[in-house]
Assembly symmetry: C2
Homo-oligomer: 129 residues x 2
DNA sequence: AGTAGCATTTACGTTAACGTAAAGGTCAAG
DNA sequence: CTTGACCTTTACGTTAACGTAAATGCTACT
């Protein structure tokens, strides 16, 4: 059970950020005798997912959907099946993002090729700059 | 030479968005006789880069750096070399993003495996729900 | 039991990336 | 040459995701 400060340092975020995530229903830490927040391992796992999700273009609202899916104890079979289905869709979205980033990378590499050939050409005429 | 509306429709963004990109120095369209914006192919290419960049987690400030690199006519050799170097770094960043997204995907798949096994278990005791 | 360094809630402030409205100019069709 | 659909600039409004400050409570150590 880590304090809010320890948790913040662990993920390199501010305590305000952590409290904000609680405000919008993403985290629900335990409390100490004196009402101070205490983060068990399960909350740390959630925070890790949040931080990573943020880093790669998901909004907190989107992340919320994802995290809440893997959060509640899904007892009913139907619920479980739905969760799995929804999870698969999310994974497909991530795959799409990866593919488009790869296309972006290829385009940028193409541009570099163009610039490189310009550079080669300019090797003939030394003397300017 | 497309008008601002045609351009907006082409990329599915608002005209305000396009004007905003001009405000912050990302686009510089031509002008008609009567002072209306006209977008040649080169500006459309830039806008495409911007839209794609946005979609995958880059801020407009970051995109600005990238776009401006491939924008001005880089005449000097030193400038050209620097541009290429900087471009390579950007590509590495994109590669990193891809890798971390792939890790994210793997983790999500792991979670699905866990849920699937839960589902299998619950297949034994039919009768609830 | 005093105090330094944490924590709490409440609430206003900030920035990026636009949205939206006002007041008016431009352009193509008829 | 007059509409109607587009365009212009100016400027204030909005939302997400926190930052920051104030007033106060808790905790660990000496």
């Amino acid at each position: 059970m880590k304090t809010i400060r320890e948790t913040a340092d662990l993920f390199d975020v501010s305590t305000r950020t952590i409290r904000y995530y609680e405000e919008i229903g993403l985290l629900s830490p335990a409390r100490s005798e004196g009402n101070q927040r205490l983060y068990p391992a399960s909350e740390l796992v959630k925070l890790k997912l949040i931080v990573r999700g943020k880093k790669y273009g998901f909004s907190l609202e989107e992340i919320k959907e994802m995290v809440l899916l893997f959060d509640k104890d899904r007892t009913g079979r139907k619920q479980l099946e739905r969760t799995i289905q929804y999870g698969r869709r999310r994974i497909e979205e991530v795959e799409l993002k990866i593919q488009e980033l790869e296309e972006m990378k290829r385009e940028m590499e193409q541009l570099l090729v163009v610039f490189n050939s310009k550079l080669e050409k300019s090797k003939g005429d030394e003397g300017n700059e």
